[in-house]
Amino acid sequence: MDRREMEISRREFFQKAALSGTLLFIIGPKVKDSVAQVTESGETITHHYAMGIQVDKCIGCGRCVNGCKIENNVPREPFFYRTWIERYVITVDGDVVVDSPDGGISGFPETKEKDAILRSFFIPKLCNHCANPPCVQVCPVGATFSTEEGVVLVDKDYCIGCRYCIQACPYGARFLNPETKTADKCTFCYHRLAKGLVPACVEVCPTRARIFGEIGVRSSQLTRFMRFNELQVLKPDLNTEPRVFYANLDGAVK
């Protein structure tokens, strides 16, 4: 049993213990064990989708933000993002200046601190599809959940709009969709994955800064990316176990 499996089974153990520990479990609907996909030849396939981000390839053009809004009918107004780009400017004085004008959807203007830059770079952000998602934990009705492939989704026909998940997400990846009045966020373009396509942001990224794939599949771009880079996730101390991995992530990024 490798470390990852051990961690997962330990989490399951705690979850089950917490479940059975409460007398209330009798009144919840009966939950079957999740079923993995089974092919015709009887082989079981469990996908574990993940995304890799090569920070030093991002040029901050915002095509991903734009593409995401088109693909997923995200309201065009500049307050609702399933993905967005942040620009970090670290000055020679050590100040960290971050901005994300309109989520970076139209690119970035020249920075104001241009005379005193020590380092500067762009960081694409999106839902981290955590293996240990705090948003799923707090949803009172089971309207947000991890699928068997590890994608965290929102059921917009079941969400009551309490916004507890928005409070619980450490990454600001969720928003309340003003049209549906329900929680909304990146789905890894689940509808595209189902059709064998990559997420829209990955499709339109002109510099291959985003790499999409499955964890544990040999000879894939993602596996290669994970093999040859030193990887970091956002806010690792919160133990959310993100499935969006960053290469060359600066410590200033939160």
Binding site: Y81, P134, V138, I160, C169, F175
Partner: protein, 399 residues
């Protein structure tokens, strides 16, 4: 939607530093401030009522039934602010039929029903059963039938039966104290368990909520008992008032110590979030936290209560000081809830910036609705007092 966008544009212009682009909309507004404030009053009023039953504090006997009815009135209103703030109130039943057991919020339905049905309503029913039967027999008009309906036909007034009522009330009260702790500790847990938010995430949160709840409940009963007695033209029982004021003082001191402990702990540990927390307090929460919550809502009433306890003051002046303290405490506790709920959303989870909350006046999540929700329990209480008169010194009007 246009109105929302306009409001978000305004918020955007108020942002200091950097916040995540999705954080411009502040999600929990004034209604979510009202909710823990009201449940706090419920828990506090009930715990006060329990003192008389379980610990035999005879002085506060005059407030016992009144406290139960007050708790019930506020408990009936408690879910309304939550309901009104939902994106889809029509789906709220889902929390009862598919409660997600890992979610603190899903427990709301159970905690609420348990507290409403198993504790408050049952205790009130056993407490009033004898009177209800009497009123049903001797009353006139529609009230007679209402009282009869409320007895559920249980008109046995034998000594054995009444002794059972009394035992039941005591038993329920004993169960009720942990339940009241659960009710409000649970509300604190809803905030305290959010690890993404350093302002909320604290093990002390449920305990601080609980003690501030008891503070607000006792202060409420000083006001309700005092005012209702004055309205009825009776004289206020000063022994009762003194006792209530002493309890208020003690719990206020415990509450202040806990909050101070939390504060010192945060400053001493001085983790990553301390800088933005400092900015939050000095820029956004200075008035509501330092001035209103701490000075006006905690230190001022403590001083007033200490004065009235140690100086030999005439009863009239004492009463005035008690009332003043109780009002200040209410303002302070409302501020406490505000500082937790709104304060926790005024800084970015990137810990790099502050945003803004602009309260609506009208609208479903506006100030007027919030005020309405705070007045509503008093209307319910007035009706309830008419149906179930809590005074021992007065026969119900019908007899």
């Amino acid at each position: 939607m246009d109105k929302l966008i306009e409001q978000l544009q305004h918020n955007l212009s108020q942002v200091v530093g950097f916040i995540y682009p999705n954080e411009i909309e502040l999600h929990w507004g004034i209604l979510v401030v009202v909710y823990p404030y009201i449940t706090g009053l419920v828990a506090g009023a009930f715990i006060l009522a329990s003192l008389e039953r379980v610990f035999n504090v005879k002085e506060i006997m005059p407030t016992y039934r009144l406290a139960l009815l007050t708790a019930l009135s506020f408990l009936i209103v408690a879910p309304l602010p939550l309901l009104l703030h939902l994106g889809h109130p029509e789906r709220s039943f889902e929390i009862m039929i598919t409660p997600h057991l890992q979610s603190a919020m899903a427990m709301f339905g159970f905690v609420y029903i348990w507290y409403l049905m198993m504790v408050l309503v049952l205790e009130i029913w056993f407490e009033y059963r004898e009177d209800l039967g009497r009123w049903a027999r001797s009353g006139k008009g529609w009230k007679k039938y209402l009282h009869y309906l409320l007895t559920l036909g249980s008109l046995d007034h034998s000594e054995k039966s009444l002794r059972f009522d009394h035992k039941a009330v005591t038993f329920i009260t004993i169960v009720g104290i942990p339940s009241a702790f659960l009710l409000h500790g649970y509300v604190g847990f809803i905030f305290g368990s959010i690890k993404a938010n350093p302002w909320w995430s604290s093990v002390l949160m449920p305990i601080v909520f609980l003690f501030s709840a008891i503070v607000s409940g006792i202060a409420l009963m000083i006001l309700v008992y005092g005012l209702s007695t004055l309205i009825r033209g009776k004289s206020i029982d000063m022994a009762c008032m003194n006792k209530l004021a002493s309890y208020l003082l003690y719990v206020l001191i415990i509450d202040l110590s806990l909050e101070t402990l939390d504060f010192i702990h945060r400053v001493y540990e001085s983790v990553e979030s301390i800088n933005i927390m400092g900015q939050l307090i000095s820029q956004k929460l200075f008035i509501s936290l330092i001035v209103v919550q701490l000075l006006l809502g905690t230190l001022a009433p403590i001083s007033l209560l200490v004065l009235s306890k140690f100086l030999r003051l005439p009863d009239e002046l004492k009463r005035l000081l008690f009332f003043l303290s109780a009002i200040l405490v209410q303002i302070g506790i409302f501020s406490t809830r505000w500082n937790v709920v709104i304060g926790g959303q005024l800084f970015s989870k990137s810990l790099r910036g502050l945003t803004n909350y602009k309260m609506e006046l009208l609208g479903l999540e506006g100030l007027l609705i919030a005020i309405g929700l705070l007045v509503l329990p008093f209307i319910i209480l007035t009706v309830m007092v008419k149906i179930l008169p809590p005074w021992k010194d007065q026969k119900p009007a019908v007899s």
